[in-house]
Amino acid sequence: MTLSASQNRAGLALMAPAAMLAVIFLLLPLLAIFVLAFTDYQLGDRTLHFIGFDNFRELADEPIFWTSLGNTLLYSAVVVPGSVTLGLVSALLIDARTSLRSFYRTVFFLPVMASLLAMAVVWEFMLHPSFGIVNTALKAIGLAPHNWLKDGDIALYVLAVIGIWQSFGFNMVLFMAGLSAIPRDLYDAAEIDGAPNAWARFSLITWPLLAPVTVFVSITAMIRSFQVFDTVHALTQGGPSKSTEVLLYTIYAEGFEFFRSGRAAAITVVFIALVVAVSLMRFVSFKKNGKPA
């Protein structure tokens, strides 16, 4: 009785600082988003003026919002398969008891470590229409150069390639951890059972046993891809003609350039819904596999 009472007291006391900060910096702001989304609040206002669903109605009517949402999903649809596949292929190639194993692992992980913003500036230089290395190389092999970041048809895909470049090493590390958890004995057994080639071993053992990791990595990659911002802000500012406008960039522009906090909050609600929906997919998939996270 006294023990549990003192434990209770100690527990609450140890939780207190974290709880207080969590309320101030997480819970209240989160609630504020859902309040602001129903107001026409602008930074500096001292009062809140509720306007019901007007923000959402306006957004639904504005092509720019749908462009932004569509671009975010399209970006994600390129980056997720790209970075997950490249990560998996790298992990598989490295895992096959390759010499130089740690060299490759380090090199592939470098882009994850480097400041994306600084590297975006480097990419911008590489993609420079007249003296960027990409166009120089294309010209050298007789192909037509492009103005990569100023062409509305390809700019988003160019950003997606940078996204893949930056994140595949992260996925690779997660896959390598997953691969090392597969017992070597199984591959010996497959060899004895007559698996004729690497593909048979992969489809019999690696792919099915890696499935939970693949689902996890894909979902993580998707959530991260929804948060694309640095490259957009540094390289295209959403342009040309809104072709690289993505949700987080729209939130930034509305909230911190035009200071229309209400509208920014409304877009944020959509952003949160997207992220939470994908995160919940993870719980569902883990439940189905009967394996906890």
């Binding site: 140890l14 702001p29 911008e124 090493g169």
Partner: protein, 282 residues
């Protein structure tokens, strides 16, 4: 012996194929770094020539780096980066460790709700609450300060979650033995759990420091005077000031900004990669 060598040939071919593929991927991963460093060493006329050269005819190392360092206070940006990331990590540990210990080892009223709240907050990226955070800091007049850069990140639900999972694996006997020795719950956190948690804490440290050193979104919003610029903001400021055409010094600046974390990574790469893998899988 002939048979053995036949098997070796096949293995060699496979291994060669593997290395060719891996080298291609490695070239893709390394290309921007190579371009960055190579350009930072070139004089302007070589940068604007349309032939690809990795090593310049005339080394312009001194000129470019000198100009980078004199045009913008890069050293200050780096120092800001160090101050901000270390302050964030220190405060995160100070706040998360006791909470994680309480969630893992103490029975108290509201423990379940608190843990559910942690799980829920894990889903929300901080970008989502940037707008209200900004308004809040505006009203308490803390924008454009170190506090604006640090305060919102003092609470890390991820840190709490990670350390709680780790503490769950620490045997109860260890805690009970410390209690028998007369330690208070708070001193158990710092004198028993902290030393036991060094591996997990290292992993969390790598995660936290890398994330906040490279973070661009929040500093972009929170500060406006260049005395508080963190490294990524510094690169952008430099680029905008130079109108993006003075590539030699720009690449030198990028190199200076990227170098510290990369150097740290290369020195302790196993720790970094394991740390990221550990925090990634949780």
């Amino acid at each position: 012996m002939m048979s053995v060598s036949r098997k070796t040939t096949a293995a060699l071919t496979r291994s060669a194929m593997r290395h060719i593929l891996l080298m291609t991927i490695a070239a893709f991963a390394l290309l921007p770094f190579a371009v960055m460093v190579s350009t930072s060493l070139k004089p302007a006329d070589e940068i604007f020539s349309d032939s690809v050269r990795w090593w310049p005819h005339k080394l312009a190392f001194v000129e470019n780096y000198n100009q980078a360092l004199s045009t913008a206070p890069l050293a200050l940006y780096l120092l800001n980066g160090v101050i901000v990331t270390l302050a964030i990590f220190f405060l995160q540990v100070l706040v998360s460790l006791p909470a994680a210990y309480a969630l893992a080892k103490l029975r108290f009223i509201g423990r379940r709700i608190a843990f559910c709240f942690v799980l829920f907050c894990l889903l929300i990226p901080y970008h989502a609450i940037a707008v209200p955070l900004f308004i809040m800091l505006y009203f308490v007049d803390l924008l454009d300060s170190y506090s604006a850069l640090v305060l919102p990140f003092t609470i890390s639900v991820f840190g709490i979650f990670l350390m709680r999972q780790f503490f769950m694996g620490v045997p109860d006997d260890l805690v009970d033995a410390a209690r028998m020795d007369g330690l208070s719950e708070l001193s158990i956190v710092w004198r028993v759990m902290l030393p036991a948690a060094i591996p997990a804490l290292t992993a969390f440290g790598v995660f936290s420091i890398v994330a906040h050193w490279n973070d661009y979104f929040w500093p972009l919003i929170a500060v406006s005077s260049d005395g508080y610029f963190t490294p990524p903001l510094g690169v952008m400021a430099f680029r905008n000031a130079e109108a993006g055409t003075n590539f030699g010094p720009l690449m030198a600046a990028a190199t200076i900004i990227v170098a510290p974390l990369i150097a740290l990574f290369l020195l302790a790469q196993r720790r970094f990669i394991e740390g990221i893998a550990f925090t990634g899988i949780k």
